[in-house]
Symmetry: D2
Subunit: 391 residues, 4 copies
C-alpha cells in the first residue's frame, strides 16, 4: 500500500448547491448529489427538483430541504435565490436535455455558477448562444462529461500533451450498451421514454445520450478537435424514433484519423466506453469498465500497465485520486456500505423497528474476535514448527 | 444501462458520529469519514482525533468541528458525550491497533454504538473480554472488515449459503502487497512504522494487518469457520521485527480445506486480495482489484461473469449497489471530481486567489457546445449519405 | 482434463504436396509446411520454391527434396508433375500476391488441387477468371484465410447459423498491428518490401494484407455477405506508396451494419485480430491473441466464457481440436520443443559436435528423480501430520 | 508482425523414433507423436504400443508402422532394435507410470536414448537407480515435464538466473483441474481409472499426476531446489483411493518460501497451471492457459507484459518460438486445420466417398474472390470521398 495524501476536503471552504431536476424517479440526480457530498465541498440547500410543482415539493421534502428553498420552477428558484444573502454558490441542472438551456440561462443571468448535465442543449444555435452568455458573465460553467473526472483519463490526456505518444495518428473510441436492445421504452421505463423521444432528447438518440461522451473523451484525451466526420445513424428496434446505433469515421484537425461507435443495442455490453489512441511513438488504451488501469505501449517495448495512484501514475492523476493504488475506487463504496448498514441498525433501534435485513451482514465484534484468534493461532503455529493449531 | 433505484439516503434519518484517531497524518481516518458521508446517513460532530492533545485540537479544527466537541482524549470524549442531549449515536475507532480495546470499552460503557477498525485488539483475551462486554450492553458493535461491504462479496456468500456451489471443498484466499518489500519503516512513513512495531501492532505484522482481512473474507464467503490452521510466518526484510509474509494451510469446521497467503513483500502486487471457493457443484472467484465481476463456474458448464448490479446479480448485492451495472464503482469518484473541481474554481474566486491548476480540467460550456455540434454533424452526415461534415 | 479423441491422423491416407514459393527468407512458407505435417496427412515432395532458379535449388536442398522434384519455375513444376505417376495431390502457392494467379492457373490446368495464400489475386478480374476456371475443373481450391481454422471461430459461425444470436445487427471487426509504424521497408525487410510495393501487393497495402483476413472473418462468422462499404484508406508513414491504415463502414446483405478497421501502424498492437457480433438475442466476442476463449453474452444473462474443447464447445469446434480444453494450443509447440531439443542433443552426438546450448534446457532424468522424491516427500509429510520433510 | 527466423527443421538431420505405450485409447501418446513431427526432426518407425500384444499390433497398423517393427512388448523391441543397422535413435515411453522404469532400463541397456513421460517412476528407489544407470550409460534421458518447453517459461527462468528479480523470496505455484470432481473413474474413463489406481499410479494421485508438473515448474523457473515441504494430501471424492487435492508449504534451498496447490476437484478450472515468483527487485507471473504472456513487475515501476517472440522477449524464448509475436501458438493448429480439411476433401475424392462434413468449412476460391472484391471496393470507396461502393 502506497500511502498518499487523502483528499479530506473539510479543510476547504464548503459551498451551497441548488439543483434543477433530479426529483423522484430520476437517476442521474442522485448521482450528482453523491458526487457533490463525497468530497464534502458542497451542501445541497435548494432545489426545483421537478417540472411538476407537486412532485418538486415532495422531492424537496425527501431531501430534507428547508421548505423555503423548495421551488416549483427553476425560474422562481433563480429569481428568489438571487435575492438571498446566503444564496446558492452553484446550481446543478440535471433535467432532460431540452430543459438545460432555459434553466442554465436563468441562473447565469442571476449570477450563479452552473454545473450542467450533457448534452448541453438540443440544438447548436441554443448551445452557442448559451456559451456566449456564459463567456459574457464570466461565471464558471461546467458540463458533466463525467468520464473526464477519472484519474487515468486525465493521465492519458497529460501523456498525450507531453508528447509521450508522439504525433497522434489514430483514435478509436466506442460506447456501447445493450439496455435498448428491445423496446424498453414501452415498458414504463422513464429513462428509456425520454431518451427515445425527439421532443425531449433532441435530434439524436444514442448519439446524443452516449455518443457525446465518446466524442468528448476522444477530444479530451487526444487533446485535439474533430474537424469533420462521416456518420451512419441507424435504428434497429422497430418503431423507435431515434437512432439506437451509430458508426462514424473521424478526421481530426491535426490530421489524425479515427472511428467512433455508439450503440444501445449491442447485446451483452453493459456500459462499454473504451478508447484507444495510437501515436508515432506509443499507444494507450483505457476501458471505463476497468478504470483503474491504463495500458501504455511504447513502440518496440513491452506494454506497461499503469494503475491509478500506483507505479507510473503522474501528478495529474494523483491529484484526482482519493485512495492508494490497488484499492479500486469501489473501495470507498464498499467501506460506505458498512457505515450505512450500521446507521440502519441504529436508526431502527431509535425508531423501534426491525432493521433492513441486508444491513445485518456488517461484521460484528464476534468477527472481530475471530480475527484476533486467527492472528494468535497463526503466530502460535508458526512458532511451533507449523503445527496445526485450533482457531 | 439498467436503471435501478439509487440509494438516496436523505430519505432516512441521519445520525451523529464521533471519531477516535484519524487526525493529521492518518490514512484510514479519512476513508472512514468519506464512507460515513457518501450515503448521507452520518454527520461527524465530535472527535478525539489524536492521542496528542494539541494534534487532536488542530485536527478537529481542520474538520470544522464545534470546538466544544474537540476532545483531547477518548476518555474525555466518552464521558462528556454521554452527558449531552445531542450526544453522538456512534463512534468510529480508527487508532493504531493497541488502542482499539480501551477506547471501545469506554464508549460501550457510555452506551454509545461502536464502529471499530480491524484487527479488533492485539490479544485474544482483550478481544474476548470486549466481545463479552458488547454482548452485555446489547449495543451495535461493527468491525470494519470493509471487504464484506462489496456487493459481489455479499452475493458470493449468499450463493454459497443458497447451496449454488454444493458442499464447499476448497477455499483459496490471498492478500499480497509489495509496499514493505524494502525497509520503508526507516524512511519516515508513519504507516509503516506502527505496522512493523510489535508495541502498536501486536504480535503479528502482515498477518494482523491484512491476513485478518483475508481470513475474514474466507469465513464470510464460505459461511464457515476455520477450525484449525498450520502457519509459517516469515520476515524477509532484515531487521524487521514482525512477519512480512505468511503461508497457512486451513481446515474448516465443515471439512473444507484451504490455503491462505498474506504478504507485504510480493514485488509488483499493489493490493492483491483474491478469493476462490470450490464446491461440489461449482466454483467462484473474486478479486478485489476488479471488484465489479464475480466468476461463477458451474461444473460442466461455461463459466459465467456476474457483474455488479448487472445480469445475474442477486438481491443481496443489488441492495449494496448505488449505480447501474457497467458503471464500475469508481464512477462515483469520477463524477465527484468534477464537483470538487468546480468548487475549487468558485472558492478561488470567492477568496481572490488562483484555483488549483488541476481543477481546470473540468469540461466547460465550450466542450458542451462541441458536444451539440457533434450531434448535429452526425445527424447531418447520416442524412446526407454519410457525407463528410465539418464539426 | 476432459479427455477427448485425439486427431491421430496416421489412420488416414497421406497425400503428396508440392509448394510454389516459400524458399529461403520467406516467412509464410515455413508456416504452411508445419501446418501440412502437424496432422501427418501431407508429405512435401516437390517444390518451385523461388522465382530465382538458383535460390529455388538451394531452398529445395534445404528441405531434403528429391533433386528430381526441385523445379526452377512453377510452369516447369506443373508440366512435369502432371506427367508423373506419383504426382503431387495438391500444391501450396505461397508466393507474393501478384504471382498467385498464374501459378494457380497452371496447376488447375494440370489437374492438381490448389491451396493458395490470400489475397487470391491482385485484381478482381483475375480473381473471377480464376474462380471460373476452378469451378470448371471441379478441383479443390482452398484459400488460406487461416483464421477460419480456429475451433472457436467455427463454433461462432455455427452458433450464428443456429440462430443462437437471433437476427444479426452488428459486426465489429478489426485487425491492427504496428510492425509498419516506421519505415521498415527501407531497412532490408523482405516482408515489408513486397507488402508496400504496389507491383507485388496490388492496389492495397494493409487492406490487402490483413484487411482481407478481417473481412473474411466477418463474412464467415456472420454467415452473411457485405453488400456495400464506405472506406477511407490512409497512409501515415511518409513515402509509403500503399495504405497502412483503413477505416470502413459496412452494410451487410441481411441489413446488419458493421465497422472494419485494419492498421499496420497501431503502436503497441502485435496482431490484434478481433471480432464482435451482436444479434437481437446475444453477442459474441473472439480475439485471435487469446483464441481459446469465446465470450457469449445472451441478452439479460451473465456472459459465458466458452473454452476450446471445454464446457460449451460444440461439435464443430471439437472436430477442429487436437487436445483437451484448458491446454491452450501452444501446448503442442511446448511439447514439441522437448522433442526437438532431444533431437538436437542426439544429432550433435552423432555428428561429433556440441549441441545448441538452448537444447540443454530439456528436463533430464535428474529432474525426473526430483519429481519422484517430491511425491514421496509429499505423501510422507501428509501422513505425518504435515510435518516438514526433506525433498 | 515482427518477422523472425522460422524454425524450419528440415535443414537438420532427422532421427528415428520408437514408442512404448500410446496405442488405441491412450491420450498422451498421440500428443507425443504430434510433438515429434511438428518440427520434422523425428520419424516414428517402431513401437510396442500396448502391453496387450493384440492391441499393440492393431495400434501399430493404425500408425502405418512397418509390420517388422511392431512389437508385442518393450523387451522384444529393445532387444531387436538393438540389433538393427537402422535402429531407432530414441524411444518415447508413454505408458502408465508403473511401467516407466523397466522400459527405460531396457532401452538404456540397449544403448538407446530415452524420452520418458513423468513422473519418472512410482518409487524413489527405482527413480534413483534409473538415474544412476542413465548417468553410467551417458545416454540422453529426457523427462517430458513439457511445460518447460514453453518459450516464456524458459524466458522466466533466464530472467531469474540473470538476477532480474533479485534474490528470490517467494514462489507460488498451482495446478488445478476439475475433471475428477465427480467419480469419473467409475464411468469407464481409461484415463481416470489408472490415475486413481495406486497399483498403476504409485502412492499419489493428483500429486503424482499434476503436482509433479507444478513442482518441476517451480524448481525450473526459480532455478532453485525445494529443500523441504509440509503437505496435506486429501481425498474429497468418496471411495477414491488416492489424493485428489494437496496443499503444501515449501522451503527452498536458497531460503525462499513457497506454496504449492494441486487439485483435480476445483470445479470450473480446466487446466490451471500457474506460477508466480517474487524477488527482492521484481515479480513474475505466468499462466499456462494464456501462455503467450509473461507479466514482469519491477518494484516501483508499472508491470510490463512480455509477449512470446514480441517486445521484451529474450534469446532463450525466441529460440523456442516458431512464429511471430502476436500469433498465439494456436495459430499453427488453426493453419493446420485448413490443410487437414483439404486433405480430407481430396482423399474423399480419391476414395470415392463423401468428405467429412466438417472439412467443408475451408475457404474456397469463392471466398478468395470475395477478398479481392473487398480490396477493390475499399480502394474505390476511399478514392471516391468514401462513397458507398458495392462489394
Amino acid at each position: 500500500m502506497t500511502i498518499t495524501a487523502s483528499q479530506d476536503q473539510r479543510l476547504n471552504r464548503r459551498l451551497r448547491l441548488g439543483m434543477v431536476g433530479g426529483g423522484r424517479g430520476a437517476f442521474i440526480g442522485a448521482v450528482h448529489r453523491i458526487a457533490a457530498r463525497l468530497d464534502d465541498r458542497w451542501e445541497l440547500v435548494a432545489g426545483a427538483l421537478s417540472s411538476d410543482p407537486e412532485r418538486a415539493r415532495l422531492s424537496g421534502e425527501d431531501l430534507l430541504l428547508n421548505p423555503d428553498r423548495i421551488y416549483g420552477s427553476f425560474e422562481e428558484m433563480a429569481r428568489r435565490e438571487k435575492e438571498r444573502e446566503d444564496r446558492i454558490d452553484g446550481v446543478a441542472i440535471v433535467t432532460p436535455n431540452h430543459a438545460h438551456a432555459p434553466a442554465a440561462r436563468a441562473f447565469l443571468e442571476a449570477g450563479i455558477h452552473v454545473i450542467c448535465d450533457k448534452p448541453l442543449t438540443t440544438t447548436r444555435q441554443e448551445a452557442e448562444d448559451l456559451a456566449k452568455l456564459a463567456r459574457e458573465t464570466g461565471l464558471v460553467f461546467a458540463v458533466t462529461h463525467n468520464y473526464t473526472g477519472y484519474p487515468l483519463v486525465r493521465q492519458a490526456r497529460a501523456m498525450v500533451q507531453a508528447g509521450e505518444l508522439g504525433h497522434i495518428r489514430l483514435v478509436q473510441v466506442e460506447y456501447a450498451q445493450d439496455w435498448l436492445a428491445t423496446r424498453v421504452e414501452e415498458t414504463g421505463s422513464k429513462q428509456a421514454e425520454w431518451r427515445t423521444d425527439p421532443a425531449r432528447s433532441g435530434p439524436a438518440g444514442a448519439v446524443g445520450d452516449i455518443g457525446t461522451h465518446a466524442f468528448n473523451l476522444a477530444e479530451f484525451i487526444a487533446a485535439d478537435e474533430v474537424a469533420s466526420l462521416s456518420a451512419e445513424l441507424h435504428t434497429f428496434v422497430e418503431g423507435r424514433r431515434l437512432d439506437d446505433n451509430a458508426h462514424m469515421m473521424l478526421r481530426f484537425a491535426s490530421g489524425a484519423r479515427g472511428m467512433l461507435w455508439c450503440s444501445q443495442v449491442a447485446s451483452g455490453l453493459e456500459n462499454g466506453l473504451r478508447i484507444r489512441v495510437y501515436g508515432e511513438k506509443a499507444g494507450l488504451e483505457w476501458d471505463q469498465e476497468n478504470p483503474n488501469s491504463l495500458l501504455f505501449s511504447p513502440l518496440g517495448e513491452p506494454p506497461r500497465i499503469i494503475r491509478r495512484n500506483g507505479y507510473g501514475a503522474n501528478d495529474v492523476s494523483r491529484a484526482a485520486s482519493r485512495i492508494p493504488g490497488g484499492h479500486p475506487e469501489g473501495y470507498l463504496e464498499g467501506f460506505t456500505q458498512l457505515y450505512t448498514d450500521v446507521a440502519e441498525q441504529i436508526a431502527a433501534r431509535l425508531e423501534g423497528r426491525e432493521p433492513d435485513s441486508f444491513s445485518l451482514q456488517v461484521p460484528t465484534v464476534e468477527q472481530g474476535v475471530r480475527g484476533v484468534r486467527f492472528i494468535e493461532a497463526a503466530v502460535r503455529s508458526s512458532e511451533g514448527k507449523t503445527a496445526w493449531v485450533d482457531v
